[in-house]
């Protein structure tokens, strides 16, 4: 299966669903409109990323964090998003924490102690690993 390395499009089905749920029942969305919104969403991601990155650089950081994204929203005049985003983030963080703890509990029930130790370390490094992966990608990929 040929993989396009840079598919910058978002899945049509998901975009369509989001639009449908936002609009009143029964409103038709032309294919052209749907496609346009999808493209707009991709552009939004790029714009938001660029903006957030500026905040990260100002803070002399190489990693984009939550605060950078929220600052970007304000900068882009989407202040209305900030409150719901903060709320969602709280839920997300709790969810992630719950998952981590569930994994740790599961590990405690496994056989050897050694396995537990190595897996626990992995879990702790989960968030870190993402960043490390990013850096590795940068080294390998040709631009």
């Amino acid at each position: 299966m040929a993989e396009r390395p840079e598919d910058l499009n978002l899945p049509n089905a998901v975009i369509t669903r989001i639009i449908k749920e936002a609009l009143p029942d029964g409103v038709n969305i032309s294919k052209e409109a749907r496609s346009a919104i999808s493209r707009a969403a991709s552009v939004f991601v790029l714009y938001a990323t660029s903006c957030a990155n500026n905040f990260a650089m100002k803070g002399k950081r190489k990693t984009l964090n939550a605060g950078d994204v929220l600052s970007a929203m304000e900068e882009m005049e989407f202040q209305r998003f900030v409150a719901p985003l903060k709320e969602s983030l709280e839920v997300y963080r709790r969810e992630q924490k719950g998952k981590k703890e569930a994994r740790k509990d599961k590990d405690k029930k496994t056989d050897s102690e050694e396995q537990d130790k190595s897996r626990e370390e992995e879990n702790d490094d989960d968030d870190e690993r993402m960043e490390e992966e990013e850096q590795n990608d940068e080294e390998e990929v040709d631009n």
């Binding site: 989001i18 409109a33 991601v45 790029l46 984009l64 968030d127 990608d137």
Partner: protein, 132 residues
């Protein structure tokens, strides 16, 4: 509290619908970006969903498509042009004009170039209206 539980359980009420992996691909296509922390990735995905909702509802509310119970490309294009918040989309959501009008525009430009100041003969060449 029931709502939140539903959101966490997946399906239509999950916390975020857009795939984080795809969002990450788009973010990483920016050359200046080094790393993205997990929370930032989640927030970007969620913000994009909010953006889609906002663009759709705003365009529907202010557009003429709703006269026929529809959201049209024209509504979106109109939003990009009229609303400052969405102006960053103006280039990718250009207004459309009839081909015949476009040809007239080209002809007029050419005539203006040849004569100098431009003829005021063809007064019918008003500012181009987009088709709706």
């Amino acid at each position: 509290r029931g709502k939140m539980a539903a959101r966490l359980s997946g399906g239509e009420n999950r916390l975020v619908s857009l795939p984080l992996s795809r969002i990450r691909v788009i973010m990483k296509s920016s050359p200046e970006v080094s790393s993205i922390n997990q929370d930032a990735l989640f927030l970007t995905a969620k913000a994009t969903e909010l953006f889609v909702q906002y663009l759709a509802t705003y365009s529907y509310k202010h557009g003429r498509g709703k006269e026929k119970n529809a959201l049209t490309y024209s509504d979106l294009s109109h939003t990009a042009e009229e609303c400052e918040t969405f102006q960053f989309l103006a280039d990718i959501l250009p207004k459309k004009i009839l081909a015949s009008k476009y040809l007239k525009m080209l002809e007029k430009e050419k005539r203006d170039g040849e004569v100098g100041e431009g003829d005021e003969d063809e007064e019918e060449d008003e500012a181009v209206e987009d088709i709706r």
